[in-house]
Amino acid sequence: MSDLLEKPLIEGDKTSQDVTEDISALVESAPHPKWFALLGSAKGLFLFYMIVVGIIIATGMGTMGVNHPVGWGTDIVTFVFWVGIGHAGTLISAVLYLFRQKWRTSIARSAEAMTVIAVATAGIFPIIHTGRPWLAFWLFPYPNQRGPLWVNFRSPLLWDVFAISTYATVSIVFWYIGLVPDFATLRDRAKKDGRNIRHKVYGALSLGWRGATRHWSHYEMTYLLLAGLSTPLVLSVHSIVSFDFAVAQLPGWHTTIFPPYFVAGAIFSGFAMVVTLMTLIRIAVPVFKDYVTINHMELMNKVIMTTGMLVGYAYASEFFIAWYSGSKYEGYAFVNRAFGPYWWAYWTMITCNVVIPQLFWVRRLRRSIPVMFVISIFVNIGMWFERYVITVTSLHRDFLPANWGIFDLTFYDFGALVGSFGMFFTLFLLYIKFVPAVSIAEVKPVLGVGKEGGH
């Protein structure tokens, strides 16, 4: 980080006033037609998604490609994919906060928003993938009148319910607490401009924040505690998601490496998604270039490269253990992964996740916006395929060869997968418009970083 300290975190020689103006302007001014165009298309995709999901729920799981023996398909793959995306937000906002990484301030807000939205998007999938989604609430252990009927605490799916709901709750609270001072700023500015409705809405959202020292003192402590609370979640959520697979006895699922492997993968994909979004925001809103600088992007690319290699290590380790264990089922599962009917998925995954991020070794490439955008897209594709490879290739050929089958995506699989991006982008665009996309309160203290006479 030594070279970072020499460079300013925020460019353009901003004053505190500039920061407030820059960021509030996004919320206060009428949106650019481009925003409407983007929202329109995202919303269209979202509507398509709702129709697809509606048909799936109304007609049955049979509309999707899942079958016997492949009981889990696109829904679970995409669920794990979106939950993984969410991880970067918590990592950036909580873990980096605890480690006093000041560069996080510019991207933390959007990363957190991405987390919340990604978890919301992910949360739909376990529900639609059940055979009777209208009864999916039975997975919650609530007091009921069905006799002493309780949930099965031994099932990883139940752990999943707890992990995801905890994660969603903590992420939302953490994100919201961070927003309170900024909402207050917007409220005050609205009052000044005489915008009544805006004043009332942001007034309610800012929970009576007056910026008093006592407020700040409580706020800092709360934020620190929440950061402390969120940090284990970064590790736990995807560990538990990985238990869905690791606890099963299916060859290809039943491996102890899954929890760290999944967490690494989640951070990997999450950072890739942040890079994708940030490059897009930088293009759409040029003022962001001052806040999310090329230095930020470079740091994130380093994380991507590192986690990419961790994931690559996990892939290699799985193969080694499959051979070393001597279990012929396990051995077959992995050979089948790489050279069976789904070889294309496996090699897509390897190429996208292990090979392509290696380009970031070159400084020029990791500081190039077009290069990092393309790579981040590849990483996201690769990580979707990673989950696809794990889920489908293990299930489609297990112990008894007579059961072996094949899984093909149907229109509804594609619809649910593509449509979920509609939901994600719709929510993200709304967030950009209505919520300060950079933390005003947190950026101001780091204005001096890299300047002479700074702190």
Binding site: G54, I57, A58, T59, G60, M61, G62, V66, N67, H68, P69, V70, G71, W72, H129, T130, G131, R132, P133, W134, L135, A136, W138, L139, L149, W150, V151, N152, R154, S155, P156, L157, L158, V161, D244, V247, A248, Q249, L250, S325, G326, S327, K328, Y329, G331, Y332, L395, R397, D398, F399, L400, P401, A402, N403, W404, G405, I406
Partner: protein
């Protein structure tokens, strides 16, 4: 009950209710009372879909609850004797399908038959029932059955489909007029009912006609061959006593599946294949089609049908006996056509036969032998049986042979003569679908000359469409009847439900037209009366009424004190000849598939979705071709070919996909009958093509073909994805010799340890044993399970997507050289594991461990995460991908009320027939005792003709299942993952001289990556190494 909204109600919940629109009434009526059967459909938006999509808004609209409307169950004022709601009644009955008589116990609930079971008292078959026997139940409730008589307004060519409804009195009036002109002929299929035959004979003689019997793929030519061979004309077909045999040589005969009496043959096969009861009967099979029997053979040789006679001669010449030499001398030129491999196989057959004089069976009457030489092949076969002294020992001609097959292929020719001579004025076609099984133009043109054709059938099908009247008969389960299947073994058929539709027994119609007062029931009873008068002393009843009641209770009258008596030896007096003609290019072999046979049950969805035991394909017929032929012609699975058969008068061609079948003879195309129905009903319409179109003069095999590749592909629905065991120890095998040395031969045992203590089962602990030595793979259990457990049929599209619902499936694996592989069958159902992987992963406890070791499925609780299925190593769980419970009426009458009908989104699987367990347990409890061993029989076990499945209490050391578990031959499937299944398998013992298991299986370390292949190399000292069966696969 239909009125649910009180129009004067003070309060209203919505404007809709207030205005009380029709739409609202409709909605309100359905609310909260949806039966699973009226749930969402796949087309259109049903109520629930609406709910699911717009749940929130509707919830707003329906604030405040309506009481569930009261549905009153009205008890009987006068309860019928013996009928208690909720208690099943069992009736003895019987039915006949294509000459095969099934003696049944019909289980009825509230007056409707829900399950067919074999009758214990029926000699040599007992409780067993074939898949088609089971499926007869569903044919009763077939929605496409005719509900009233029909009249077809035919044009000159009789190919139009203009139908008018008519009624019985009108039909009677019109037919009486026509009958008064005389010339009334009746054509029926095999008719094992003496009462019916006598009546028909009386009818035709009264109206100046004749009674002819013709059936598709009948056995009359076979019957005729006895006359030529022994000089005695035979009215019956011999009974093969597999139970007394030590060696069977079957030439193109699928005796476990499509022969007459195959159920009885399977039964005795099962008894003789249990290695603990001594050396199993050895079977050598030579055939061109890969058949079910072929897959069970100890040695098998694929041989073109054209070489059958030469092969028999080669067998005879190897007896090295001057008299036998002389018989076969004229054919020795043909022997030269056999390859060294084939000659070697013939020599080994001869060697075995010579060793097993009087204890062997040679049979060759199957479809594969029905080529131009059929009669000669039969005579040569009779010669061998006679020469070896098998006649009268293992082959029974006199005591209890089959008499139910009484059709005659010559009858059709006689009928044609009569028609051409203008003698036939009114023709009644009964119980044979002539124009389906004989769809040739020439025949149709001849029959167009008949002024009035009356078809007595249950639908307006191929024959119905060409008949002026289609008069529906009762279904066999609605009708009185009596049958004689084996000589002196009689069964009675009594109606178990009153006719569902406006149908009338054919015999009642005949009586009506003859102007007689008596009814068909009277005639049936009279037939029994005369029997009672002749044999009454044997029955042990003092009056006829007592006898009659006793008969109706038992269903069977067997006048042979034992069917196992031997009969006198016959001597061969005939001769056989024939000239071998070299056959080039592809030839066709048309066979009866085990599901559909001759096509009369093809509208039964259970059978359409029953995986073929050999190919595992559902919902289609296809040409099975050999691996080499496919390679040579560059054909891949599902490629469409057009096949043309030329006859002197007409050419027929059909286009069908090919299926590449390991074990198929090089140039043989095999095609199943029973498909390609027209007017057969919604289920079978458009499924496959009619193979009968390619059969001329009853030549089923060695039919010359012209094959044209069409260049397009068609997807066949194969329910098994993979056909090799991949070197995994799934089906363990050993030769009988190896088994004798070490009863554990072939089993790779694992040492399993667990950190946890085991479940405790203080009461019962149910277990099941499956003997792979006796299982033939016939798939009857699959259909029996389907009938017992309300298992839905999903159709071809979903079967193709891997969504078939069978709770028990038969895994079939091939091993070795694909030209002639060894085949194994393995029934796999829920293994009811002690450490069930499915139980731990279900988040809502929808699948839980029962106190008696069963793994129970709570359908109501299941939300459908499918995690259990993913975690099941045997993949026996089935998911309701759509709402399969929406069943057309009256098919739902076949549902078993003791088994929940599953709605969509719910997982299901084998329950060990828990409803049967509980039924027997409560009955036993009423008598204050425990269920005794064998009292509980699961549906699969009960129907199994070979007794391969045994079920019982593992806690009872004396139970059969406990004894079987102690047998060294028992092993646990996937033992190494330590799930502790309650289902265990017994090694398949093959009676061959080859090395099957090898000797190193115990020494192998656990988890050996090389798998079992490595210890299956043939030993260099093995004499039989030169034979056809390529054993080693690298």
């Amino acid at each position: 009950m239909s009125k649910t909204i009180n129009e004067n109600k003070k309060y209203w919940k919505s404007l809709d209710q207030w205005t009380n629109s029709d739409e609202f009434k409709d909605l309100a009526e359905k609310e909260f009372m949806s039966s699973p059967l009226s749930e969402e459909s796949q087309e259109g938006w049903a109520r629930r879909d609406f709910l699911k999509l717009m749940g929130a808004s509707l919830a707003l609209g329906s604030f405040g609850c309506v009481r569930r409307p009261a549905q009153k169950i009205v008890p009987f004022v006068n309860r019928p004797v013996g009928l208690v709601h909720g208690i099943a009644n069992h009736y003895a009955s019987s039915l006949v399908e294509a000459g095969e008589v099934y003696s049944l116990v019909v289980k009825t609930r509230e007056g409707r038959p829900i399950k067919l079971e074999g009758n214990d008292l029926f000699p040599s078959v007992g409780e067993a029932l074939s898949a088609r026997g089971q499926a007869q139940l569903l044919s009763l409730y077939d929605p496409d059955r005719l509900k009233a008589p029909l009249q077809n307004l035919l044009n000159e060519e009789r190919n139009n489909r203009d139908t008018v409804k008519t009624d019985w009195s009108k039909v009677d009036g019109e037919l009486s007029k026509k009958l008064s002109q005389g010339g009334a002929y009746v054509l029926s299929g095999d008719n094992p009912s003496k009462a019916s035959r006598d009546l028909i004979t009386r009818f035709v003689s009264k109206f100046g006609g004749k009674y002819y019997k013709w059936s598709c793929a009948g056995f009359s030519k076979f019957k005729d061959s006895f006359g030529d061979a022994y000089g005695v004309k035979s009215e019956s077909l011999p009974r093969y006593k597999v139970e007394d045999a030590e060696f069977i040589f079957s030439l193109g005969t699928d005796f476990l599946n499509e022969a007459y009496g195959s159920l009885a043959l399977s039964k005795s096969w099962g008894k003789r294949r249990d290695p603990s009861a001594g050396e199993p009967v050895r079977l050598y099979q030579v055939e061109s089609t890969m058949t079910l029997t072929g897959t069970n053979a100890d040695e098998r040789l694929p041989l073109a049908s054209s070489k059958y006679l030469s092969f028999l001669c080669a067998v005879i010449s190897n007896f090295k006996d001057s008299s036998s030499y002389a018989r076969a001398a004229s054919l020795f030129s043909g022997i030269k056509s056999l390859s060294p491999e084939e000659l070697e196989f013939a020599r080994s057959v001869s060697d075995e036969l010579k060793k097993k004089r009087g204890k062997s069976i040679v049979m060759s009457f199957g479809h594969d032998s029905q080529n131009k030489d059929f009669l000669e092949i039969q005579k040569a076969t009779h010669f061998i049986n006679s020469y070896l002294g098998n006649d009268g020992k293992t082959i029974d001609y006199t005591k209890a042979p089959y008499v139910s097959y009484n059709s005659d292929s010559k009858d059709l020719k006689s009928l044609i003569n009569d028609i051409n001579a203008n003698r036939v004025k009114t023709l009644f076609i009964y119980d044979t679908n002539l124009f389906y099984n004989h769809p040739h133009k020439a025949l149709k043109e001849i029959f167009n000359k008949v002024k009035t054709v009356v078809y007595i059938g249950d639908r307006n099908d191929e024959t119905g469409m060409r008949a002026h009247y289609v008069l529906p008969d009762h279904h066999a389960l609605e009708k009185w009847n009596e049958f004689e299947s084996l000589k002196n073994i009689f069964t009675v058929a009594q109606p178990t439900i009153s006719p569902l539709y406006d149908t009338r027994a054919f015999e009642d119609s005949l009586l009506q037209w003859m102007g007689e007062k008596s009814t068909w029931y009277d005639l049936v009873k009279e037939t029994w009366k005369s029997r009672y008068q002749s044999y009454g002393s044997l029955s042990g009843y003092s009056t006829f009424d007592e006898f009659w009641i006793g008969l109706l209770q038992k269903g069977v009258l067997s006048l042979n004190s034992s069917v196992d008596q031997t009969s006198p030896v016959r001597s061969f007096v005939g001769s056989f000849k024939g000239v071998y003609k070299k056959s080039d290019g592809p030839t066709l072999s048309v066979y009866k598939s085990s599901a559909l046979a001759d096509g009369r049950l093809s509208n039964v969805s259970w059978l359409q979705e029953m995986p073929d035991p050999v190919t595992k394909i559902v919902w289609d017929n296809y040409f099975s071709i050999s691996v080499e032929y496919a390679k040579e012609m560059k054909l891949s699975e599902g490629d469409l070919v057009e096949v043309k058969v030329s006859n002197s008068s007409e050419d027929y061609s059909i286009s069908l996909p090919v299926h590449i079948q390991p074990g198929q003879e090089l140039n043989t195309f095999s095609l199943a009958m029973g498909y390609g129905r027209v007017g057969g009903g919604k289920v079978c319409e458009g499924v496959g093509k009619n193979a009968c179109a390619l059969v001329f003069d009853e030549q089923h095999a060695d039919v010359k073909l012209n094959v044209k590749k069409l260049g397009t592909n068609y997807t066949l629905a194969n329910v098994q994805g993979h056909h090799s065991m991949e070197g995994r120890a799934i089906v363990n095998e050993a030769s009988f010799k190896e088994y004798k040395k070490d009863p554990s031969a072939g089993i790779h045992r694992h040492k399993v340890i667990s950190l946890w203590s085991k479940h405790k089962y203080p009461g019962h602990k149910w277990g099941m044993s499956v003997d792979l030595s006796t299982c033939t793979g016939c798939t009857a259990c699959v259909v029996a399970c389907q009938a017992e457990n309300n298992i839905p049929v999903v159709g071809k599209k979903l079967a193709l997507e891997g969504r078939e619902m069978h709770w028990i499936r038969i895994d079939r694996y091939f091993e070795g050289d694909p030209k002639n592989p060894r085949t194994v069958h393995q029934p796999v159902m829920c293994q009811h594991c002690d450490n069930a992987p499915c139980e731990t992963v279900c988040p809502v406890l929808a699948t839980v461990h029962g106190s008696e070791g069963t793994n129970d499925m709570v359908y109501n609780r299941c939300v459908g995460t499918r995690y259990c299925s993913n975690n099941c190593p045997y993949k026996v769980r089935r998911f309701n991908w759509f709402n399969y419970s929406k069943i057309e009426s009256p098919l739902k009458m076949a549902l078993n009320p003791e088994v929940t009908v599953r709605s969509r989104g719910v997982m299901e699987k084998c329950t060990f027939c828990i409803q049967k367990i509980n039924d027997v347990k409560s009955k036993a409890k009423l008598k204050d005792r425990k269920p005794f061993d064998g009292e509980i029989k699961t549906a699969c076990q009960q129907t199994c003709p070979t007794n391969a499945i045994s079920f019982g209490d593992m806690n009872d050391p004396e139970s059969e299942v406990s004894k079987r578990f102690k047998d060294k031959r028992t092993y646990v499937l996937l033992e190494e993952i330590n799930v502790g299944p309650a289902v265990r398998y017994m090694t398949k013992i093959i009676n061959t001289d080859k090395v099957i298991a090898g000797d190193s299986h115990h020494a192998k370390p656990h988890g050996d990556a090389e798998g079992e292949n490595s210890h299956k190399k043939p030993s260099p000292h093995n004499k039989d190494n030169t034979s056809h069966e390529g054993e080693a696969h690298s």
